[in-house]
């Protein structure tokens, strides 16, 4: 009897029993492909890779247990109910019974996602760990134009926008933002929440184009789970800092598309009573009378207070924020070292944004690092004419009045400061100049064979200098830019050390080779002197180098390992090539510069 023969009525064994193809799964579940896909997306079920693909390599395989998991899903029944309901609506419409159709439409059963979310992410940390895609998607859909044809409704977009802002407000409030990066694709943010590193991408605040080759329903399916997920996560986070969720926003600010600012302010205002109010005020006599009130009032009145304070002179919310910051900084029980560092980065900085800079992003980043920020427009916390402003973010040559008391810098300065965790000298970022290169904070320079751009080195020097200084104030560490001075102080960054070590090694290898060559030559001489009748061997006749050894050992290992080795070598070579091209370009650029200068 052949091995594969299975008598009728006998159970399947092995992979054939454990896995089913997609078509089989569809037949088992009695649903169509789009619904199956939707369920898979919602439940987080992915195809599996059986060891042996019993139906061929071109098939997709699902685990039987996964399919059983779907089979018992109430969502399946719910979708059947929805289908029936849709048929009713259709019928009502066909009979021109508009009223009934509308009523039915309102009564369409809605699947509940919360149970599924709990199932997929049993712990809050799990949910946080997989929040990257969710955040990226929600942020993307917050900028997509609402297209009714493609089922991207206005509600959806506004909902996404809201959720994104709630999230950002939390991050800014708790100073969890760690890294930012302005790329061509958008702005990357990295935050650390409950030990999880969360990175997300926000598109630039420009109109997105929805291409035709993108299947929007699939993305909407994902959004169907991502939206509630983010909402629940937000709720949990807000709950953890004693805030109501969803937050109530100042309608005026909301109308001005300044939700993020409104949110941050809301968060600050509502958290205030937990903080002792013995701090120094910027304008004590002005605020004191108002601040007595919230101490006695309970939470519900706080929002109104915040709104009240908002109606006070323009300077005040900023002052309030500052107060909260300071108070929180003093007790600082919940903050770890890094958060504190982040929080105090822009402590002494008061920033004003011009019209042309990306306001939404900066309004998020600057408060997240403890800075005060204002902008041009209604309801701004302080006006442009405020004398205490230290920096103004400008992206084109200012035509109007220039204040001598402040520095005019490009927005990149903020992002670079954030990544370097120090306040960088501003002269490179002046308006009208091409700013220094914006480097990615996600590159690990310790990794072998990574290229360290020049500006990264200078930033490292600056950082080292700032650490030594007692007072990290802007504009002080200018004298430390001299690299020789730094070297003398023993501050050599690791990458440089690596480089030096490598070069030393190279030199040693070269030296060795030279010695060997020398030895060989000597031997060759003795040979020739010994045998007079023997013809002189020429060096071209026999070639034995280090390479031969390499070839030799490779054939001893098994084929699997050999293939692996080859793949590794190829990838290493590719990396090296990349590195080499960059070095070459750099050389060329330097040459060109030298020639011109």
């Amino acid at each position: 009897m052949p091995k594969h023969y299975r008598p009728a009525g006998k159970k399947k064994e092995g992979n054939a029993a454990k896995f089913v193809t997609r078509t089989q799964a569809l037949r088992l579940l009695q649903i169509n492909l789009p619904l199956f896909r939707k369920l898979c997306i919602l439940k987080g079920i992915t195809p599996r890779e059986p060891k042996k693909k019993f139906k061929g390599n071109d098939k997709t395989y699902y685990h039987v247990k996964d399919i059983a998991f779907l089979h018992h899903e109430p969502l399946l029944e719910m979708h059947r109910a929805i289908r029936v309901h849709e048929r009713k609506i259709k019928k009502a419409e066909a009979k021109k019974n508009v009223e009934r159709a509308n009523r039915l439409r309102e009564k369409t059963p809605k699947p509940k996602i919360d149970r599924i979310i709990r199932q997929r992410y049993p712990r809050f940390v799990d949910a946080l760990g997989e929040l990257d895609d969710c955040l990226t998607m929600v942020h993307l859909f917050a900028t997509v134009p609402a297209i009714e044809d493609k089922k991207i409704g206005v509600d959806l977009v506004t909902e996404c926008r809201k959720l994104a802002h709630y999230w950002q407000a939390f991050i800014a409030r708790t100073h969890r933002l760690r890294k930012t990066f302005v790329s061509v694709k958008g702005i990357y943010y990295q935050a650390e929440v409950e030990g999880q590193t969360i990175t997300w991408l926000t598109p630039h605040a420009l109109q997105q184009v929805v291409p035709d080759d993108v299947d929007i329903p699939t993305m909407l399916n994902f959004l169907q789970i991502y939206q509630p997920l983010l909402s629940f996560v937000n709720f949990h986070l807000y709950h953890s800092i004693n805030l109501k969720y969803p937050p109530m926003l100042d309608p005026e600010l909301e109308a001005l598309a300044l939700e993020i600012y409104a949110l941050i302010r809301y968060a600050h205002a509502n958290n205030k009573p937990t903080i002792p109010e013995t701090s120094q005020l910027v304008e004590p006599e002005q605020l004191e009378s108002k601040l007595d009130a919230p101490e006695i009032q309970n939470k519900k009145s706080e929002l109104r207070l915040a709104q009240l304070q908002h109606q006070l002179p323009s300077n005040e919310p900023g002052a309030l924020m500052n107060l909260v910051e300071k108070a929180a900084g003093e007790d600082g029980e919940e903050y770890d070292e890094e958060t504190k560092q982040c929080k105090n980065l822009f402590q002494n900085v008061k920033i004003f944004l011009s019209r042309e800079v990306p306001r939404e992003s900066l309004l998020f980043v600057i408060p997240a690092f403890g800075g005060m920020v204002s902008w041009e427009g209604k309801n701004a916390p302080f006006a442009e004419s405020d004398q205490s402003i230290t920096h103004q973010i400008v992206d084109r040559d200012a035509q109007g009045h220039r204040f001598l008391s402040r520095e005019y810098v490009q927005p990149q300065w903020v992002f670079d400061c954030v990544n370097a965790r120090i306040i960088l000298p501003t002269e490179n970022y002046m308006v009208g100049r091409i700013p220094p290169p914006h480097l990615s904070p996600f590159v690990d320079y310790d990794e072998e064979g990574s290229y360290v751009p020049e500006y990264a080195k200078t930033i490292k020097h600056l950082q080292a200098a700032a650490r030594k200084e007692v007072l990290p104030l802007p504009g002080v560490e200018k004298d430390l830019e001299d690299p020789q001075n730094l070297l003398a102080e023993g501050i050599i960054d690791r990458a440089a050390a690596n480089q030096a070590a490598k070069e030393k090694q190279k030199l040693m290898v070269l030296e060795k080779q030279y010695h060997e060559d020398l030895k060989k030559e000597l031997q060759g001489d003795t040979y020739t002197s010994e045998g007079s009748t023997i013809k002189d061997k020429t060096s071209t006749e026999v070639i034995h180098t280090g390479e031969s050894m390499k070839v030799d050992t490779a054939m001893l290992i098994s084929r699997k390992k050999r293939k692996l080795l080859e793949a590794m070598e190829i990838s290493n070579k590719r990396k090296q090539n990349k590195y080499d091209t960059i070095i070459q370009r750099k050389k060329k650029l330097d040459e060109a510069q030298n020639q011109s200068s």
Binding site: T46, P47, R48, E49, T60, Y61, E106, K107, D114, I117, P122, R123, F124, G129, D132, D133, T136, M137, F181, V182, V184, Y188, P203, H204, Q208, V210, P211, V214, T218, P228, F232, F235, H236, Y245, E356, P358, R396, P411, I434, P435, P437, L439, S440, F442, P453, T533, I534, K537, E541, V542, M549, V551, D552, M555, L556, I557, L564, N572, T581, R585
Partner: protein
């Protein structure tokens, strides 16, 4: 009817123009008059116009009868006409002239009307005129303004929207406000006349003055004062239905608010799904090159970008770094949606497999080998070159003492060299390409076995002292008649002949002999004839008795090489795919080694006797440990071309292979006496520098001497 006609003939606006001038009533009366007068005119005038004929005929069906009455009326109408405005009279004039339109008086004042009737206007498209007036004169087309001019005029004119171009008469007509009103009313399906009131105030024509009694004198019914029973019934019905549950209300709309979902999740450690859950890998974080303002060295030059076009599509970099001088100038990323979508696809369509990330040094994959220096001595470089052969050297062999070396070449010569000096001691012209040369392994007997073509020659090299020479000569003595006797009886596979030219014995075989191998005692030697398909392909000869015998084994394959065990009476025959091991005493097969090669070409046995190597034509080298298994212990793919020969060193743990690619590999092959320890194989050196000739490449038998 009249109005309809008018509409056809003359444009609508002008018609209404008149309406606005005159009151309705008067107009109606006018028209009736006109009809009459026209009828009269027709009857009176002899020259009736063809256009109006039909109508007049219809009316004047019985002309004679009507005449009297008509006259009287005519008189009246004439009077009225006189009394009335001049327009009326002119209208009648117009009729007499035979104008198609029963139009009103004011029309002809405007311009000559077109009379072409309802014909397609394209008939006149190419003509200079648009039609004919009443008198049959051509009406010239007006000069058209150019578009720009008309546009400018239109822009300036605030009343432009009211203007309509009349194609038939080639003129622009401006509608008055009232006309517009009428048009609007018509569009709404209302009565067109502006002063028509659809909802006039009700005029109560009944006279109530003398009504003293109400219309009905019935008293007010009771039901108007008590609550309705029917309604109460209905209410009760509904209430009962609601109580029964047969009427259900729509549930209030549920707001899906978020709540504290993970209220207490500290106890949970596992995922609910019992299958292994693999979280999706995170997306790659961007490097410097994705920055909006990357360092200059990250930006490829134009040449490099162009060169990307030449690459394969898979190899082409997906992202080309770009530089923007300010954040303001960053455009929207066009692939944002697409990349997000692709990520989605990855998330739900890709099987997730946990792969071990091999974070290992590639060097660690290579086996730990002892340092090559410890394995010395082994040949490293070319020491001597023995020059003299004109063709490819096919085989070499070193004498037992190590002083002499014999070489056979395809130029038909065999030479004996002194190993140390490279001096050519002797040279035999055999005349046929030599396949194999081998020394007799005994130190005293300097006999060289040479195979060429179908013959095997046993040559006396003339080395050694007198005593040894004597022994050799005795050995090489052969009786030719004895051999001839044998030939008479049956066809022998081998004939022993005396070879006078070279002072030795010639063994004539039936097929080509490729290899000759001596037994360790120097008395027996075996020859292999791969061309012999029958099992006679391997022969064993005894030198002392000048006997040849066939092996009584079925080989199941073409024999390629054969060799003797170095210490026991075991014989190895290498066929193309297997190595067969026979016990010569018991005359039976001991072992069959499966090489897994396509075509083996050479075999060598380790001096210990338990290991052997097989070289193949696909460049693979198999090491067999016969105690271990019948499968190769190790297969080395070292040569890109055929391996010609493999050999073990007689005393050192070395072995070598030589190949058509004009290289020879030297390996360290240590066999331990401890049976638990596997043999150690270390590749040591590649010897290059052999010249290629004859296309096939020089083949050399590499034997390691020192």
């Amino acid at each position: 009817m009249v109005e309809l006609d008018n509409q056809k003939e003359a444009p609508l606006p002008s018609d209404y123009n008149e309406d606005s001038d005159d009151s309705d009533n008067t107009q109606l009366s006018d028209e009736s008059d006109f009809e009459d007068s026209s009828a009269d005119n027709d009857s009176d005038s002899s020259s009736g116009s063809s256009d109006s004929d039909s109508k007049s005929e219809l009316e004047d069906g019985p002309p004679a009868q009507d005449n009297s009455g008509g006259d009287s009326e005519e008189a009246e109408s004439q009077d009225e006409d006189d009394v009335k405005s001049e327009g009326g009279s002119e209208g009648s004039d117009l009729h007499q002239e035979g104008g198609g339109a029963e139009s009103d008086s004011s029309e002809d004042e405007v311009a000559p009307r077109n009379t072409i009737g309802e014909v397609p206007l394209k008939w006149y498209e190419d003509e200079p005129h648009i039609g004919y007036d009443i008198k049959g004169k051509k009406i010239k087309k007006k000069e058209k303004e150019d578009k720009l001019g008309s546009f400018l005029a239109n822009v300036d004119d605030s009343k432009n929207w009211r203007k309509i171009y009349d194609e038939y008469n080639d003129e622009v007509v401006e509608l008055t406000k009232d006309e517009i009103k009428i048009v609007r009313k018509l569009m709404k399906n209302q009565a067109p006349h502006t002063d028509f009131d659809p909802y006039p105030t009700y005029v109560d024509w009944f006279k109530w003055d003398d009504a003293k009694h109400p219309l009905s004198n019935a008293p007010e019914p009771k039901r108007r004062f008590i609550p309705s029973k029917w309604e109460a019934k209905k209410v009760v019905q509904y209430v009962r239905a609601i109580r029964n549950g047969s009427i259900t209300f729509d549930k209030p709309k549920e707001e899906d608010d978020s709540y504290l979902l993970w209220e207490d999740d500290s106890g949970l450690t596992e995922k609910a799904n019992h299958l292994a859950y693999v979280p999706a890998p995170k997306q790659k974080l961007p490097g410097h090159d994705e920055s909006y303002n990357p360092p200059l060295e990250y930006i490829p030059t134009q040449e490099e970008i162009n060169s990307y076009q030449l690459m394969y599509e898979e190899d082409r970099p997906k992202f080309i770094p770009k530089r923007f001088t300010s954040m303001r100038s960053i455009p929207a990323y066009e692939n944002a949606m697409k990349e997000s979508f692709e990520r989605c696809l990855d998330l739900y369509l890709c099987p997730r497999v946990r792969r071990k990330r091999l974070n290992i040094d590639p060097e660690s994959l290579k086996p730990k080998l002892p340092n090559k220096k410890e394995l010395k001595p082994y040949p490293i470089s070319c020491y001597i070159e023995y020059k003299g052969h004109e063709g490819a050297v096919t085989s070499i062999s070193v004498e037992a003492s190590g002083q002499w070396m014999a070489s056979g070449s395809s130029d038909g010569t065999v030479r004996v060299w002194e190993v140390e000096t490279g001096r050519c001691l002797r040279r035999w012209e055999i005349g046929e390409a030599v396949n194999c040369v081998t020394w007799n392994p005994l130190p005293g007997i300097h006999i060289l076995a040479v195979s060429m073509g179908q013959d095997v020659l046993l040559l006396n090299t003339g080395l050694g002292d007198e005593e040894e020479q004597q022994r050799i000569k005795e050995l090489l003595l052969v009786d030719s008649p004895k051999a001839s006797d044998e030939t008479g009886k049956k066809a022998p596979s081998v004939t022993w002949l005396k070879d006078d030219n070279h002072d030795g014995i010639r063994l004539r075989h039936l097929k080509t002999v490729t290899s000759v191998e001596w037994h360790r005692k120097g008395d027996y030697f075996s020859t292999v004839m791969p061309a012999d398909i029958l099992f006679k392909s391997v022969l064993i000869h005894q030198l002392s008795k000048k006997l040849s015998q066939k092996l009584p084994f079925n080989l199941r394959g073409l024999a390629v090489r054969s060799t003797f065990h170095p210490s026991r009476s075991i014989f190895f025959i290498c066929t193309k795919k297997t190595v067969r091991v026979y016990d010569l005493l018991k005359r039976k097969l001991i072992k069959k080694l499966d090489t897994g090669l396509k075509e083996a070409s050479s075999i060598a046995v380790h001096p210990g006797g338990d290991n052997l190597i097989v070289g193949s034509k696909e460049g693979k080298l198999c090491w067999f440990d016969m105690d271990l298994s019948s499968k190769p212990y190790k297969t080395l793919k070292c040569h890109p071309k055929d391996i010609n020969n493999v050999v073990f060193h007689r005393s050192y743990p070395l072995f070598a292979s030589c190949s058509d690619d004009s290289t020879a590999y030297v390996f360290h092959g240590m066999v331990y006496s401890d049976l638990n320890q596997n043999p150690l194989i270390v590749p040591l050196e590649i010897l290059r520098g052999h010249e290629n000739s004859n296309g096939r490449g020089e083949t050399s038998f590499c034997d390691i001497v020192n």
